[in-house]
Symmetry: C2
Subunit: 331 residues, 2 copies
Amino acid sequence: MGGGPSTPALAAAVAEAGGLGFLAAGYKTADVVRADIEAVRALTRRPFGVNLFAPPQPVADPDAVARFAAALDGEAERYGVALGEPRHDDDDWAAKLALVAELAVPVVSFTFGGPPRGDVRALQHAGAAVWVTVTRPEEAVAAAEEGADALVVQGTEAGGHRATFDDAAPGDIGLLALLQLVAGVTDLPLIATGGIMTGRGVAAVLAAGADAAALGTAFMLCPEAATAPAHRKALTAPGDTALTRAYTGRTARGIVNRWLREHHDDAPSAYPDVHYLTAKVRAAARSAGDPDGFHLWAGQAHTLAEAVPAGELVARLAAEARDALRAATVR
Amino acid sequence: MGGGPSTPALAAAVAEAGGLGFLAAGYKTADVVRADIEAVRALTRRPFGVNLFAPPQPVADPDAVARFAAALDGEAERYGVALGEPRHDDDDWAAKLALVAELAVPVVSFTFGGPPRGDVRALQHAGAAVWVTVTRPEEAVAAAEEGADALVVQGTEAGGHRATFDDAAPGDIGLLALLQLVAGVTDLPLIATGGIMTGRGVAAVLAAGADAAALGTAFMLCPEAATAPAHRKALTAPGDTALTRAYTGRTARGIVNRWLREHHDDAPSAYPDVHYLTAKVRAAARSAGDPDGFHLWAGQAHTLAEAVPAGELVARLAAEARDALRAATVR
């Protein structure tokens, strides 16, 4: 839930309700993440997690970014801002790793791959549990070998970026198939994510062997989330989602809109270069309330999201999950 | 499981073990289906089902079939047989509908859409329960309006043909997301299918609110299945699957092989025309034991399939599902 919806208030509300709230650290400087962590701790004494983006691969074809920039000239004109300068960076990786260790964040999860074994050990030594997000059985094996404490198993249903280690293979395995496959290659605890919107969905992944369910889209309409108004509106309306690199240069699932339809075919695999190229234009569209000009990240079951306080949602999901397991046992 | 793996012996073994065995009627004449049904009834007195293909849409672009045929010349040469004559038919639809009514088949399920209301009523009058396979919430609404008794909810994980009503929108919704979405638009009983290979998978869909789980790939290594040897071998080896029209002109999931890689991009949406065009070549490759020359239908978790008798598999799945629900309830 990086790039907007994630807030300290949301993470704290989930934690206070008995869930494990998360802060998205992606796109932010280490200083901003520090302030976010302090804000969570001012709101709750309960454990919480921070999610970091692992450093991206080098861009395969720099010329492709230039060609894509040319294709986006009309977008810049439409929203009245210049395209950004595409650049390649590591999202302040070393500083954020040091920060979450320094602040003894209870759970640190990773997207786009995990840290190498030495960093995993350092985090564990600092008191953090290290969770690595995986989208294929091979990634689960690799993360286990580096010493991860648990795996976040991300099905293709999930909104936002695919956590896949290599964007050349973004993965399309459905959550339930993936849970069964990953359980076949590791005994690590599994946290299931992707398309879970209801207590029945939570119950389902627990029955499949997961130790917990992780929900993103389900919380995006909560008042504590900083989801943009046009994004909120799109989430509640019927609308197909698709995987695309059109917004950031890295495969992510969003609601199909004009931008996705017009730029999907041209978008190269070039993250975060394309993110920086498009960020100002997307921000302008978002500010203007135009849902056709920015990324409407959403899981496949987004229409089931409800605008209720996060604490109420956590309590409801837990109660529904208990009921669903009871009903299934009777059946 | 049409086009090979499905046999009366497999359906009967599943039925005898307490499951609901199915016969695949697609691609077969009504006379052959009659013989299959009689063979099942000679083996078991328990209920079973028959799956029918609903008639396809007209082909959008007949020239595209001719162009695809030209692209397949090398395949015909490679396997030493001529390409087939592409033709458009309805898979003996009326005769098979009449047959399953005449023989009072207990459950009749449909792929590629369901029958209109009048035919649904006629089947129900003959004693059949009518199940329509759906891949999107809109299809669930449509099937309910025509009077279906239950819905088979097919996630993108499923092997073989997407059951989608319209091949132009083959659908990519993961099973767990789809179950939650469909439960939101209908109160009909739901049968979940797609990527379910284990008792945990069965437990998961029951917890998600399904009344039953339908498994295909999980039974393809059973001795009672007529799965080709090269297909069996491919199912047990690690290998990605993909959705493609390259074999039949209709979107289906199979293990990625040479044929899929070389012909995926050229394949038109033209079913069953392309099926007839390629059938002889694929049959020759299958007979020759070459897994690169025919459709290796498989769900996304195919590596979990086990070569055990079907009755043993049903018993094991049921026991594992019970244990999984118990364990999840404790968690």
